[in-house]
């Protein structure tokens, strides 16, 4: 198989996606171990940027009786070659067929990767339906943000992790090991007794208690994450300083389901950051959370890391900073080495709508923070808005344009090089949020609002970006979907849908056909 893979690799784009062997990747002998294959259903560059998988990879490989290897969705040229040569999907570390692992775990962070999950199972030569799998197949599990509503995937996945994965992953692996040699149904029965595990058909979703790691300081955090050969989406050291969000924005799934707010101790953040840079050589460290401004030790941590990293030319980035808390001191610490942009998310264009969605930001605060950011050297300001929010009127859409103009005027009065990027996404109701029963606007309405903004946001220093409305519609379909929706998903996959969050692959007409065929 090795020769075959190597031959194929010589004829595909970015072969480095498939070779493994990166610094800090772990290759263990396969004898007598619980073999875990961790998957992200998108390209290497996206999957490798997922922090959760890096943590699980580390936790599993730390155990002497376990091993974890990775695999990602092969790009279409690679898939073609694999199908042509009947080559099954293989892991990066040892080029072992995925179906030879004991447990396959998918990280599901985005509904538009669902077709890729089915495609990867097929490429691994594993039956798609869980009802068609027995003990000779790996146990297929899934975790991540999307298991907030696992139902559309429930015909295809044996067990879902609802909530934090760091502790439960080991319990699942141990349970698997204790159930070796007994029928698959007995294993599933044991799994359904673990807190935070949903086994479709065995324990009702409503009865599953979300798994929560009480103190995130206890997590064995990887300070030697894998350093990729090729450039990935988040090509830097990432440290999660806080889990959960104290804000209560009504649309936000991440904030609603990740409770309570838990923080990494400041000395731990500093220690992990320094250690990670030493072990990886990354030129940038990113402190992430849902709302970093609400991390009470942010200044202290940023100051210490700024001091330590500046002479090493390592830059510090703080995404998810709330606009109202940016001050010049913090801005300087962030920009100590490299120039970077600044992002704020007013979400709505008027105060009325911001109040309605509980986005605790005033226009004055937004303007002040943009001024501060530009004064401190950030010339590229990114604004995030949503259209289609509950109770939205034409005034609110006009408000987006008005606010963007106000901000570009303010920014350009400080620096004529300032640019504003307006990102517009479409509101999608998510389960377990205050807005879960709200309706999503239809394609026509999205189009109308996007066209309005296109007409009314014309400025040489302004750029407008929006989400594809077809993609948003399908994301909405799946995020609020049921078990029945899984049948549409399978139809869409069978008709050729994959890489749905890639503009060059997304084919709305196929999805429309799948929906129509299902309702017939």
């Amino acid at each position: 198989m090795r020769d075959q893979i190597e031959r194929i690799l010589s004829s595909v784009t970015k072969p480095a996606r498939y070779i493994g062997n990166e610094l800090n990747s772990i290759r263990k002998p396969h004898d007598n171990k619980i073999k875990f294959a961790l998957a992200y259903p998108d390209t290497y560059e996206i999957g490798m940027s997922n922090l959760g998988l890096q943590i699980l990879y580390h936790i599993l490989n730390k155990r002497p009786d376990m091993l974890a290897e990775r695999f990602y969705a092969p790009w279409t040229d690679m898939e073609e070659k694999m199908r042509e040569n009947s080559l099954p999907l293989f892991s990066l570390e040892s080029w072992t067929p995925v179906k030879d692992f004991d447990i396959v775990g998918f990280s599901v962070q985005n509904e538009l990767t669902y077709t890729n999950i089915l495609n990867m199972l097929e490429l691994a030569h594993i039956p798609l339906y869980r009802s068609e799998r027995d003990g000779s197949c790996p146990l297929i599990i899934a975790g991540g943000a999307c298991t907030n509503n696992p139902e559309p995937l429930s015909d295809f996945i044996d067990a879902f992790v609802i909530g934090d994965g760091e502790e439960v992953i080991l319990e699942i692996a141990d349970t698997y090991n204790n159930c070796r040699g007994i029928p698959r149904s007995a294993l599933l029965g044991s799994l359904s007794k673990i807190e935070g595990v949903y086994v479709p058909g065995l324990n009702g979703l409503g009865k599953v208690k979300r798994r929560v790691v009480k103190d995130i300081n206890t997590i064995d955090y990887p300070t030697s994450p894998i350093v990729p050969f090729i450039e990935i989406v988040h090509d830097r050291a990432t440290i999660e300083i806080m889990r959960g969000c104290p804000r209560r924005c009504k649309f936000c799934q991440a904030g609603a389901v990740n409770k309570p707010v838990r923080m990494l101790r400041p000395e731990k953040v500093i220690e992990i950051a320094k250690e990670t840079v030493k072990n990886t050589g990354f030129e940038e460290v990113s402190l992430v959370s849902l709302s970093s401004s609400d991390y009470p030790h942010l200044h202290e941590v940023a100051a210490e890391l700024g001091r330590y990293f500046a002479p090493k030319r390592i830059s510090l980035s703080l995404p998810s900073l709330r606009a109202d808390t940016l001050n010049e001191k913090l801005a300087k610490e962030m920009l100590s080495v490299r120039q970077s942009g600044f992002t704020i998310a007013p979400e709505a264009g008027t105060q009325r709508l911001r109040d309605h969605i509980c986005k605790d930001l005033t226009e004055e605060k937004i303007i002040n923070s943009v001024r501060t950011a530009v004064k401190s050297g950030s010339n590229r300001i990114k604004l995030y808005f949503m259209i289609g929010l509950p109770t939205e009127t034409d005034d609110d859409i006009k408000g987006i344009a008005d606010l963007a103009y106000t901000l570009i005027k303010e920014a350009r009065s400080i620096s004529t090089r300032a640019k504003i990027v307006v990102n517009v996404s479409t509101f999608i109701p998510k389960k377990n949020t205050p807005f879960e029963n709200e309706k999503m606007i239809n394609l026509e309405a999205i189009k109308k609002k996007q066209e309005y903004l296109k007409e009314n946001l014309r400025h040489k220093s302004m750029e407008l970006k929006w989400h594809d409305r077809g993609m948003s519609t399908i994301e909405g379909l799946l995020s609020t979907g049921t078990k029945e929706t899984g049948k549409i998903l399978l139809r869409a996959f069978r008709s050729g849908c994959k890489f749905d969050n890639w503009a060059e692959h997304f084919d709305f007409s196929r999805w429309e056909a799948a929906i129509a065929a299902h309702t017939d």
Partner: protein
Amino acid sequence: MQRIRIKYKKEMKFIGHLDMVRLWERALRRTDLPAAYSEGFNPRQKLSFGPPLPLGFTSECELLDIYFEKWVNPEQTKNLLSSTLPKGIEIIEAGNVFLARASITAEIKTAVYSADVSGDISEKISEVLGSKEIIVQRKEKDFNIRPMIKELSQSGNTVNIAVQCDNFGSIKAQELTGMFKENLTGTFRRIALYCS
């Protein structure tokens, strides 16, 4: 300034030149050696590479110049870097070079490649050596690569070819592999870089 000589083995052939640049920047940062940095908004280590190794080729002779802020023992450079490289990259040697010396790309004139082949290719070799023109397409135009081929020979199952590799021109990877396509049994290796 120090010049190091590197081997890229096995799967490392799949790592492109720009990715290699980033790999060395990060490796050097891991060693904490006193690397010299460029000025400006995005300071970077001052590294200077030889002619890019074509994607898909392994090498026994790549060169890299590293600029330091202060004196570093070359053995220390070699040891510290070696301890933090991914499998498949090996430092053969490190040595100090005179700071005013020409850059690697200005010095290198010739690259020697070798590849394993099957069957008798003596006819193919005589044909290449006997011809005045070997026309390939570059930017949709005919281009003669024959003047860039300096030496070509077979020894056993290996073909060796010395080609021009300097600022005035070099042979591209697919032109090289194209010449022996039917007979190739392995990948091309760069085995030497020469200043003449």
